[in-house]
């Protein structure tokens, strides 16, 4: 095992524009550094070999502010996982995101690591990504040609791959307001508390009386990217939500996923437990929507 990192050139841009300029000039072999909990171990393991490191923590437009706005919640890209987990606004209005981050074990990783960093790593086992998928989150992205909004739903292309170009930077996460009578839930299955998910699931469910008016279900670690299981959602929409229907939706979700066997689990086990987790998250979300 290597102990030290290979040398690289280090930049500390004072503005986003300067950061984007540096990334554009050295378009290959650059890496953006924020919390570093994923990046630094990968450098040490020689999995990546960037020549240029761009620390975006000092850029003046970058922050970790979490605030309510007219459109919903705004989370600055430097917000640590722990600051989002502990945010009263997240706990009150976007409980599914709180629950997802609370399931990550290490205090240090959550204190240092950012949610945006976790998302940009694009692991299908991310616990944050399914929660953001069901919350219909958007990213505000800055690049050489200005700003754009990217829905998290269109963000992932494959394992470790996103639509972001090398010279684009996420500056904030935007969470739209939720309807009244909406409940959310997140669950995951792990070997030990500190391990990465074998399977995870997040649900957002909105009820009007006894009828499901809207539902979104996302699962992780069961396909190359985190995944919305939309056939399962269709089973519930506009219907009276009863245990039998939840079971049918969970069964459909398990048919929609494309799991692989790896060191954490087998494909068969992941498919079986997708059914269980989707059933349980739906039931929990239903209780919370009614409450």
């Amino acid at each position: 095992m290597f102990r030290t990192l290979k040398p690289f050139e280090y930049f500390e841009p004072k503005t986003i524009k300067e950061a984007v300029d540096i990334l554009s000039t050295h378009d290959s072999g650059t890496k953006i550094l924020a919390g570093g909990v994923d990046l630094v171990p990968r450098l040490r393991k020689r999995q990546i070999h960037p020549e240029y490191m761009v620390n975006i923590q000092q850029a003046k437009e970058m922050n970790g502010t979490i605030e309510d706005t007219a459109e919903g919640l705004r989370i600055g890209a430097l917000a640590s996982l722990r600051s989002i987990e502990l945010s009263p606004l997240v706990h009150k209005n976007y409980f599914v995101l709180h629950e997802a981050i609370a399931s990550i074990a290490s205090t240090q990783v959550k204190t240092q690591g950012t949610a945006v960093g976790n998302l940009c790593v694009a692991t299908p086992a991310s616990d944050v990504a399914p929660a953001l998928l069901v919350l219909n989150a958007n990213f505000r992205v800055v690049g050489p040609s200005g700003e754009k909004i990217v829905p998290v739903e269109n963000f992932y292309l494959g394992v470790g791959k996103t639509v972001l170009q090398d010279n684009e930077i996420i500056v904030e996460i935007l969470l739209p307001k939720l309807q009244p009578k909406t409940g959310g839930a997140f669950l995951k299955l792990v070997r030990t508390a500190a391990d990465i998910a074998k399977v995870n699931a997040a649900v957002i469910l909105t009820m009007i009386d006894d009828t499901c008016s809207d539902v979104r279900i996302a699962v992780g670690s069961v396909a190359p990217t985190v995944l919305r299981v939309k056939k399962a959602e269709e089973i519930l929409k506009g219907q009276k939500v009863e245990p039998k229907l939840i079971e049918a939706a969970a069964k459909t979700a398990a048919e929609e996923v494309k799991p692989i066997s790896d060191l954490r689990s087998t494909a068969e086990y992941r498919r079986e437990t997708t059914l269980v987790l989707v059933r349980r998250t739906l039931s929990a979300a239903l209780e919370r929507a009614k409450a």
Binding site: Y10, V40, P41, M53, S106, Q112
Partner: protein, 160 residues
């Protein structure tokens, strides 16, 4: 490679240092400053042995570039005892046999300090959850959790 000037405070002592950008905070502490109380074990952000407090928050020195902690206030295990007197957490770890091989202890004690600074009266479950990122291969954790709870109760009584 161009070196970075890093001004920072470690255990109440100000430093002005020149570091290469690829040097981690762990290497800076252990190799440049000889503060070898901070350990390194997995070097991958999984075990917590390298934990230090940065502006009071528990972070992993193996995953932190030294160049990124300019202006910060770092506390390592060497900074906990005051005037030759051990911190209540250190005393409690000794008294409860929460130290066996000792390799996880600096990180464990600093994480526990961050917990007690945030929450002076944690439950047993809160201690377990907060320390989940610190692995110990000797104790089975029971004595560590006992020690943290004992230190909390001692500190709440105003004990030193």
């Amino acid at each position: 490679m161009k070196k970075e000037v890093v001004n920072l405070t470690i255990n109440d002592t100000p430093y002005e240092l020149l570091v290469e950008p690829q040097v981690t905070l762990n290497e800076l502490l252990r190799e440049q400053l000889d503060l070898t109380g901070t350990k390194i074990s997995c070097a991958a952000g999984e075990c917590g042995a390298c934990t230090v407090l940065i502006d009071g928050k528990p972070m992993l020195s193996c995953c932190t570039l030294a160049a990124t902690v300019k202006g910060k206030n770092i506390t390592t295990i060497e900074g906990l005892a005051k005037n030759g007197e051990l911190h209540p957490l250190q005393k409690a770890f000794v008294e409860h046999g929460a130290i066996q091989c000792g390799f996880c202890s600096p990180g464990m004690i600093l994480t526990a300090k961050a917990l007690l600074d945030e929450n002076p009266n944690p439950t047993r479950e809160e201690v377990k959850s907060y320390l989940a990122g610190n692995l110990c291969r000797c104790t089975g954790y029971v004595k560590i959790i006992d020690a943290v709870l004992a230190a909390a109760s001692q500190m709440n009584k105003g004990g030193k």
